[in-house]
Amino acid sequence: MTVTRELRPATRPARVPRGLRVALLLAPALGVVVVLFGGGFVQAVAQSVGYQPYPPARDLSLDAYRALWADPAVRASVGITLRVALVSTAAAAVLGVAAALLVRSLGRTRRGFAALLQVTLPLPHAVAALAMILLLAQSGALSRVAAGLGWVDGPADFPALTQDAFGWGIIASYVWKEAPFVAVVVLAALSSGVAELEDAARALGASAAQRLRHVLLPVLAPAVAAASVLVLAFTLGSYEVPFLLGRPFPATLPVVAYQQFRDPDLAARPLAMAIAVVTAVLVGACAVAYLSLSERLRG
């Protein structure tokens, strides 16, 4: 007897499309970003153009953005914000690269020093700021040592490095925190075959300085740039360090935005939100630059 059986393709359980699956898996994290950050940004934009969820209703306008440039506190704030962010980023990049190259040149102690570099990474910025006060303020350790050594008549004669007009204290705090971050990123980039490229350059007659100029720095540039963009974004938008180490006037943009936000006069709210939006756009531009550089680094 012959038994015939209908041949059917093996059935599989219905599969969720890949795109939907990825979206579902990412939903919790995306939800936090979209609701908290996106929602906050939308609220800030709305309030910056005059929307207020309480009476009296106001006409929507870009008056707050026009007022930004008319306000001397904001104009001064843009200057110190950019100065502090750019100087901190440049110093962190230079010192971070130098530290990474130095650590790489060490022999067996390399790992220990590399670990030491990372000690500051988990510390909160507020802790770094307080450490700078203890170290750099006119009542701090450095001023007393200088007075003890006779370099200045008394601690109060020591140059003001915190709450100063230039922002040295803020910059020092950022550099202390961010230079090791850049160094860690550069060390990771250095571990990916750069030594072999240097050997190739040596065999082609490149001296140590030529190898640094023509091989190391170009090869490390994307990694340094990506890390620097992150540092720049952070220093542009950070609030607590300039609040603790800076002057009330001129203050950095995030500090001014908070000062305006705390103003009991609700008419100041659009200006506060306009400052916050401008800061967020600057940070967003940094994020886009970072993504672009990361793409280059991978490519």
Binding site: G107, A195, E196, L197, D199, A200, A201, R202, A203, L204, G205, A206, S207, Q210, H214, V215, P218, V219, A221, G299
Partner: protein, 382 residues
């Protein structure tokens, strides 16, 4: 200048431990190509990097045209090097990669561009100077690396297994290119490889390196016809080995009394004979003919591999594909006296990593022992 390279008593140890290269003596006549052949981990790359100045030697001397170079930094040695990986600079164009060394020497832009293009022409890549490195294939990248080293007109060019990552056909073409360039430019070259075929195809001389020492140096044919040591015979693969004792011109072994065509010192030794030298005869009568039983006969395209047993010993012969032998056949197998070599039994175990499938002694099938650490250790970096 001829570019003669002389390495004497070279010793390199990592972490102040066991030397990975010890007592290496090597002389490469100017304008010739020597293959430094050996299994992975035997110290070939270490020797090359010491000559290039990328590693420091614990002891010994390296001279180029009679002048010692160990005191010079790598960038001031008259030596070029092509690495296993192309190691092209990704931020530069192909032309700028080739011109890199000239730029480091301060050659004006126009001159270095012209020389880079000429060198790219020479390696068969006339139209790629403006391309990015990422647009090249693996073979093209290695050609560019070759052009980049040759454009500096080095007195000695070191090539560290530059084609090992390429497919077989491309490797053959690259070998031809290196050979052509070597003849046209008369550059002294040292070519590191673990591939005996590559060494034989390319080199004027082969220096066989085993366990951190130079085992033997000579023209490629001598390693086949007249291997200097048992290890050398094994590294070149597929030899039959029979242990016995030499007395005068005869060799007493489990196969009987064999006549030797080449004299050997009296006493115990290992007789080696290549499978292609064994003959399956139509009838007994020729000297050194022994009765053998066919255990296996494999077709291998250009020949048949016939595995036999004679006197309790396995012997492998390669014969023409048409020779009619089948497993179980009893055949007369001749070991021609002129093809027999008796060598001192210095290699108790095989550390060559070579194919010794035809070896008739259990000792010959010992596994590879690669003990040398990698060359990335910082303690000996120059």
């Amino acid at each position: 200048m001829s570019g003669e390279l002389a390495v004497t008593g070279l010793r390199v140890a990592y972490n102040r431990g066991v030397p990975v290269v010890d007592g290496v003596d090597l002389r490469v006549p100017g304008g010739t190509l020597t293959a430094l052949l050996g299994p992975s981990g035997c110290g070939k790359t270490t020797v090359l990097k010491v000559v290039a100045g990328l590693l420091t030697a614990g002891a010994g001397e390296v001279r180029i045209d009679g002048a010692p170079v160990l005191g010079l930094p790598a960038e001031r040695r008259p030596v070029g090097m092509v690495f296993q990986k192309p190691l092209l600079f990704g931020h530069l164009t192909v032309g700028d990669n080739v011109a890199f060394g000239l730029r480091m020497r301060g050659v004006p832009r126009a001159a270095r561009r012209s020389r880079a293009r000429a060198m790219l022409d020479l390696v068969g890549l006339p139209d790629v100077a403006g391309r990015r490195v990422g647009e090249l294939s693996g073979g093209q990248e290695q050609r560019v690396a070759l052009a980049r080293a040759l454009v500096l007109d080095p007195r000695v060019l070191l090539l560290d297994e530059p084609f090992s990552a390429l497919d077989a056909e491309l490797r053959l073409r690259m070998r031809e290119l290196v050979r052509r360039l070597q003849r046209e430019l008369s550059t002294t070259m040292v070519f590191v490889t673990h591939d005996q075929q590559e060494a034989v195809d390319l080199a004027d001389d082969v220096a066989l390196m085993l366990d951190g020492r130079i085992e033997a140096v000579g023209p490629p044919s001598s390693f086949y016809a007249d291997p200097p040591t048992l290890s050398a015979a094994r590294f070149f693969g597929g030899v039959n080995e029979v242990r016995g004792t030499v007395t005068g011109s005869s060799f007493a072994c489990p196969l009987g009394e064999l006549r030797l065509g080449v004299p050997a010192p009296d006493g115990p030794g290992v007789l080696v004979v290549r499978p292609e030298s064994l003959r399956i005869l139509g009838a007994d009568g020729a000297p050194n003919t022994v009765p053998a039983t066919v255990r296996e006969a494999r077709f291998a395209g250009t020949h048949r591999t016939v595995v036999t047993t004679a006197g309790g010993i396995g012997l492998t012969a390669t014969v023409a594909p048409a020779v009619p032998v089948e497993p179980g056949d009893r055949i007369p197998l001749q070991l021609p006296p002129s093809a027999l070599r008796v060598l001192p039994d210095t290699a108790a175990t095989d550390t060559t990593g070579a194919d010794t499938t035809a070896a008739a002694t259990p000792a010959a099938a010992a596994p590879v022992a690669a003990t040398a650490p990698t060359t990335e250790d910082e303690d000996v970096r120059a």
